[in-house]
Symmetry: C2
Subunit: 392 residues, 2 copies
């Protein structure tokens, strides 16, 4: 026999009171016990009906189906995204608890430390022509173009992966602006101001893109286009050089994607970028440029959705023997996520000292998980995160 | 010694006239011969300077560098994207000729034929609740939900890849609308019209997405979310079933991405979607829904950029021994491509009976090629193309 749920039609509370049911749910860490009665959250009640063969009745003996119960809570935001992500975690035999139980810093968050550093370029006197339609600068002075490429990996001298082939250097739009500001580049046909205007007109959130480029470059990192890997930039650690050692091309290990605070991105597009990086075995770094806002934490109404307990040696973690590991944010495929919204959520996770887990329910109710880890990049005001696909 | 180019400052024509240079360029199929003199296109002249160590002078003996020559043609659209894609093809030892030489149907285009068919659903009487915030319908009548899933692969009964787990069926927004229109579904809390309005408000180009879904579904194809593969839908051929045979899950081989005529997509985003499909070994289908426009071909000004000769058994094709194989469209990473623009370009390629090759110059001047093949889907008014990454 399944469990019996009782719905109180006056306050829409769902409780469990049969002793054997109470004991079964207590063992599974469902609901909240109060004087021998267990009060369930809507997601918990739906799970009982969907998966645990529970029956739900009210005072007068009417029966309630999954949809009957769900309909009562229809006004709740992303009810199904929450239910489906809750269900997935539970289906794995792991414990989920409501967000409002978060009450302190759990000391669980991991920070990734990246090297700081600085970068200075020699006082060259570089001359080039800027091609507005292509957003590329060409330097046709062979010696300067070559040195710029070999010493700083700025521009592409000759041909991609065949620098000896050809005599001109091509600077992309970020390299062009960087050298105009910091590298004594002058252009025969235009000035920084005009290029800046053009780039901002042509490329959405260009200012954000460039500021991330400059932020990392100033610390000695090398940033080149991430086109082949589906992201804005690929990134090499300080000291990387395009000159092949033992005829081996250096492979980047990280890619950087910029998520402007004011932008909104479809979850499916967001996920696509992470997938490409994953398929080429690169670490995906998300950069949220711009000034961090003051974010208020309301302990009674967290932005995040569920506290997740994970595994430990020899078993699973529970509220009895451990602490939550992740704070889950439930999303669905066709939703839009804003840069600022994500920044807020990640700030909240940090406040509680948990790891952030983004759980995305696709249109087929399959769930994809991403763990988000904060990056410490000395001297940077921007927020950076490593995002990794995870199978719990 | 390199070749000598002569620039005529009056008309900005670039010619080659030294007999040994003329003979060298003739053998390489560069330029156009007229009375013993070769007239070069700007891309050809730039290539000579960049790669073939050519010197360029004018009547009075002034020397011109790469940038000097490029600056003369600075007003030409996407000059560098064109130059870099031209260069890549030439660097492979293959022949490129100017677009205006296209003069007939070359009979080279390949069409992919897909099965037609029709689809009828039994006259069920289905009831569900629609969750607006999640754009999902739940059917909690176990028998109907299960049959719908097993017989038509509509909805997800139980759990993804574990249909026995759970008792409810989830229909996504496309399945919901399809069943409201064609499958006798009724919803307890709302009607088709309201859902249609909501979906169009929430999802950009929803009408286009749904119309592609319906177009294929009506022919018996099964469409499910392509979320895991970075596209709008994955697609199974008629007859596919979610019921495992010999405990083997059926894998889709194709994904469909919708490119609305009115939308503009950043080339890098566009390419990202193809990359994910490629990394999971699926054929990428691009759908351009909506009415085909009447497109005018101006033989003197093709939209496409270069005629490409490819390889043949034992060597390369040339204008002497063969015909062009591809018509190349040159693009760059940071450019926006419109659905209608692409449709026009592909119409033009068809007109000339060539295969379409999209060549994308990234910010590092590396080129990525995609071959586009027209799909014949009987009974469909929409345009569909297979797009495949290619290494020439």
């Amino acid at each position: 026999m399944g469990i019996t749920l009782y719905l109180n039609r006056k306050n829409n509370e769902i409780i469990v009171k049969e002793p054997q049911d109470v004991s079964s749910l207590t063992n599974g860490f469902y609901g909240k016990m109060d004087k021998g009665i267990i009060h369930l959250q809507p997601e918990e009640a739906l799970y009982m009906i969907d998966i645990r063969n529970a029956k739900c009745i009210d005072e007068t003996g009417n029966t309630y189906t999954f949809n009957d119960i769900a309909s009562i809570f229809l006004k709740r935001k992303k009810l199904l995204a929450r239910y489906l992500t809750f269900k997935d975690w539970r289906d794995r035999g792991l414990i989920v608890r409501p967000n409002f139980e978060a009450h302190r810093n759990y000391g669980r968050s991991t920070t990734k430390k990246y090297k700081g550093g600085d970068f200075k370029i020699d006082a060259y006197s570089l001359q080039g022509v800027f091609f507005f339609d292509d957003l590329i600068t060409i330097i046709d002075d062979e010696a300067s173009g070559k040195e710029l490429y070999e010493k700083y990996w700025i521009g592409q001298f000759g041909t991609y992966k065949a620098a000896h082939r050809g005599k001109i250097a091509k600077l992309d739009i970020h390299e062009t602006i960087y050298l105009l500001k910091h590298g004594n580049l002058s252009l025969k046909n235009t000035k920084l101001k005009e290029i800046w205007v053009e780039a901002n007109e042509r490329i959405k959130y260009f200012e954000d893109m460039y500021s991330v480029y400059e932020n990392w470059r100033n610390k000695g990192y090398v940033l080149k286009t991430g086109f082949k890997f589906g992201t804005h930039f690929r990134i090499y650690f300080p000291g990387a050089s395009p000159i092949r050692e033992n005829d081996e091309w250096i492979h980047s290990r990280h890619v950087v994607h910029i998520f402007p605070r004011k932008s909104k991105m479809l979850i499916s597009e967001w996920s696509r970028a992470i997938r490409v990086a994953h398929s080429v075995k690169k670490t995906f770094i998300l950069a949220i440029p711009g000034k961090k806002l003051e974010i208020k934490i309301n302990p009674k109404k967290p932005r995040l959705d569920f506290l997740l307990y994970h595994r430990k040696k020899g078993g699973i973690e529970t509220p009895k023997n451990g602490q939550p590991r992740f704070f889950m944010y439930s999303l669905s495929e066709d939703e839009y996520l804003g840069g600022e919204e994500l920044a807020e959520v990640l700030f909240e996770v940090k406040y509680y000292g948990l790891e952030a887990l983004l759980a995305i329910a696709d249109r087929e109710s399959s769930i994809t998980f991403y763990v988000v880890k904060r990056i410490e990049l000395p001297g940077s005001d921007y927020e950076h995160y490593e995002i990794e696909w995870m199978q719990p």
